[in-house]
Subunit: 233 residues, 2 copies
DNA sequence: CGGAGAGTTGACTGTGTTCAAGCACCGTGG
DNA sequence: CCACGGTGCTTGAACACAGTCAACTCTCCG
């Protein structure tokens, strides 16, 4: 079974920080370190945040996968995004003290925590950090709106293909996974709730994608066999 | 016919600025004024931006409605949002020089323009402006993700009702419209492309909403008859 | 060996789509 | 004043994509 990576003792040694917008360069790391509250691990399935509840800490995912989702009273669920190591969890807490979505661990996870208000002040006080936060947020909006096009105007076949392509590219960008594929701990029900479909239909679509020689998703592993065809979708 | 409001000659007199995040308070207005390039009007249907094309000015909608949309090669369209007076057009241009969507005038519109780079610098240089921009952007993400839940997991009936409720509330917040309703220059095809449906089905849903005594949308006018029931959706 | 969770398969249903025709509204021009 | 054409809305019938339900298999673990 997969073993969880060990958290570094200090931010300076953290492998995630180069490139993380909230770090703001080496000269800020000690400041950031002083805001750090500690770290935590959780098991698969645990809720890291629940929609609407008050929360005063924000987390940075260090290892494992999580999902960001909204639940309707009658049990329907919409997954908003998949979260990978390095992603901040609950970023809207910088602007409000209640989150408009829940966050749930998809695998065992570890993350480190910062005090909401102090972290917000840290960013708000520095023009270039605030600007970079805005930049990140713009990217998040763009991603949400692309998913909107998927769900609103693309077929199930296109949706599944594009989501798996996106995941594979995000994993590659972080050097997770190898040549042909990667571990993707996502079940058909997750794809379904992410794409506005049912798990059963996702299963049928995955079979078609496999039969068409485009990709396979089985036993927690995603393999892409025809990247060109996949990009065409 | 509706008459277009007259643009003020100077930002100081602009009725939109109180409350606009990019203004940043009275002391900044002269600075903002100096960045202003001028104003423009366009007829209904004209494209203000086209997806992917380079653009070096950003606009603030002064009067009229516009839509933000993405078009697929085969003609399918997804409307991302409706833009009302006071809304910035093409905000992502602050972070990139190509827009990931098109903007089209829905009615005759007027707007004023600012040079992209100068406007971005104006904001990026001031921590509190940048932070407010981040705040706005977070709201945009939240809106996109709520629409995502609508399209992904709600029925056509719920979707149409909720979108019209949202529009009516945005109009009310800007003092457009009166007691019972407001002018809403949105055709069934727009609702359809916004909600991942077809215009024909939207028509059927609107009839059901009317038959159920909840609302009517006809001849460019939206009237809400049972706000409570509408909120229940 | 047994049980739980995930995935598969098949038959049936339903929400929403497609296509086509007809109608209402409205600004234009004879 | 009315004929005209365009645009948008409505209706009906047939269809399709995706959903629902239920039974069965597979795999992984204990």
């Amino acid at each position: 079974m997969s073993v969880m990576r060990k958290l570094p003792s200090a931010c300076v040694n953290c492998e995630l920080l180069p490139g993380a917008f909230y770090a703001g360069g080496p000269e800020n790391l000690s400041r950031l370190q002083s805001l750090r509250l500690g770290s935590k691990t959780m098991r698969a399935g645990q809720f890291i945040y629940r929609e609407g509840e008050q929360a005063s800490t924000i987390h940075i995912l260090f290892d494992g996968w999580a999902i960001r989702q909204k639940l309707l009273p009658d049990g329907r669920r919409q997954i908003l995004s998949f979260l990978l190591p390095g992603d901040p969890l609950g970023l809207p807490l910088l602007h409000a003290d209640r989150l408009p979505f829940s966050v749930q661990a998809l695998t065992p996870v570890s993350f480190c925590s910062f005090e909401r208000a102090a972290f917000a002040a840290h960013i708000a006080a520095q023009p270039q950090l605030a600007w970079q936060a805005d930049h990140m947020c713009a990217a998040a909006t763009r991603a949400a709106e692309e998913r909107l096009v998927d769900i609103g105007r693309r077929t199930a076949y296109e949706r599944v293909g594009r989501l798996l392509l996106e995941l594979s590219e995000r994993l590659k960008a972080r050097n997770l996974g190898d040549e042909r594929g990667a571990q993707v701990p996502v079940r058909q029900a997750h794809l379904a709730d992410s794409l506005g479909l049912t798990a059963i239909h996702v299963g049928r679509v995955l079979r078609r994608l496999r039969d068409d020689g485009i990709l396979t998703l089985a036993k927690g592993r995603l393999e892409i066999h025809n990247l060109e065809a996949l990009r065409q979708l």
